[in-house]
């Protein structure tokens, strides 16, 4: 009843986007508010 789960480490989403030169564009388009507004009509009421 004691279990060890090995954890792996990977480059974060931010690091990968930055390395690909996509971070600036991503952050411009993906502020939480912008996502909410874009998909507002898809959310269940409430």
């Amino acid at each position: 009843a004691l279990v060890s789960v090995p954890l792996r480490r990977t480059r974060s989403i931010r690091t990968r986007l930055r390395a690909d030169g996509l971070l600036n564009e991503f952050l411009k388009d993906h502020t939480p508010d912008m996502i909410s507004r874009r998909y507002a009509q898809c959310f269940p009421s409430g």
Binding site: S4, V5, L7, R8, R18, L27, Y39, F43
Partner: protein, 339 residues
């Protein structure tokens, strides 16, 4: 987005832009494998559903309910807000396996809609929350509560070891369910009582820079969060702290320091329950290679979260790579020892 739950305001932290550590679990019979972030800052388990229509799901392993003989349909909807989007799905129950342990009848979420493009490049498929039940979006017991209820673990304790170093032969970290691994820490464990059972929230006495107590002078609250990569605090404090370590904002909104100055930067000390936890600049600065250049990013970020009228500090992976952390559900306390 603050939400009202169990008569109090709480805010969940779902920002996995910087998450780095993940491990394997399986769901269903026969087993379907998923990689998940083990997150002490949330309390839900979710993985993508095979019915997910989002582009992000196409890049990840998806749960096929129709292939599992132990699957129990629930049908209730759930929605989770996170840093850069929103997740929608349905709830279900099935057999969960972590390491060699089997947890039957575990409630979890199957996400059918992951609008954020952040998940497109995520290495992990889902998230397994290890916080208290009051933070759960999905009704039912969080995974570790279920393990305790079903007496699957010896002790109601789990521990994290996170390392900056990893290799093909050595994993970058370990989550131990049911106890602590004495080989992975040095010296005595200092225990800190949980002050509010939602996050793993503890009392912090102060934050000092080069020995001078400058922030949180009369005490404040901090949470120990494996799902947050950096160390976060109130904007006003973090902006000043960035100035003190000579960090300047990049056009990405991140703070960078001149790598050549690393050895001259001050130490930052977090005083918890009278015990000092000091980080050197080598420990709180993250070095990343960008093309031919090496960039030094500050390990501090501004996040404004308020709990019980007080702003919260978040001790994330930058802190936890230096300190082995033990989460004790029986005595509601967090133990810390030098990793």
């Amino acid at each position: 987005t603050p939400s009202l739950r169990l008569g109090r305001i709480s805010e969940r932290i779902y920002n996995f832009m910087d998450a780095q550590f993940y491990g394997e679990i399986s769901l269903g019979t026969p087993e379907q494998n998923f990689s998940v972030i083990f997150d002490t800052g949330s309390a839900d388990l979710w993985v993508p559903s095979s019915y997910c229509v989002s582009e992000a799901c196409a890049n990840h392993r998806c749960f096929k309910a129709f292939k599992s003989t132990s699957f129990i349909h629930d049908g209730r909807r759930f929605g989770i807000h996170y840093g850069s989007g929103h997740l929608l799905g349905t709830m279900a129950r099935d057999t969960l396996k972590i390491g060699g342990l089997t947890i039957p009848n575990q409630e979890f979420g199957e996400s059918v809609y992951e609008p954020s493009e952040a998940f497109l490049s995520a290495k992990f498929d889902g998230v397994l929350g290890l916080a208290y039940q009051s933070l759960a979006e999905i009704l039912g017991s969080p995974v570790f509560d279920n393990m305790i209820e079903q007496k699957i673990v010896d002790q109601p304790v789990f521990s994290f070891y996170l390392s900056r170093k990893s290799s093909h032969t050595r994993p970058a970290g370990e989550l131990l369910l049911g106890g602590t691994n004495e080989a992975l820490y040095i010296g005595p464990i200092k225990w800190h009582p949980v002050t509010a059972k939602g996050y793993w929230q503890i009392r912090m006495d102060s934050v000092a820079v080069q020995g001078v107590s400058l922030f949180c002078p009369v005490g404040c609250e901090a949470i120990v969060d494996t799902g947050t990569s950096l160390i976060a605090g109130p904007t006003s404090d973090i902006v000043r702290l960035q100035q003190l370590i000579g960090a300047t904002p990049s056009h990405f909104g991140e703070f960078v320091v001149d790598c050549a100055r690393l050895s001259s930067l001050p130490q930052v000390t977090f005083v918890l329950n009278g015990t000092e936890y000091t980080l050197t600049s080598e420990q709180y600065i993250r070095k990343e290679r960008l093309g031919k250049n090496e960039i030094c990013f500050s390990g501090f970020q501004a996040v404004d979260i308020i709990s019980s009228k007080e702003p919260l500090w978040i001790l994330g992976d930058v802190f936890l790579t230096e300190y082995y952390s033990i989460f004790d559900k029986e005595h509601d306390q967090v133990g810390l020892a030098r990793a």
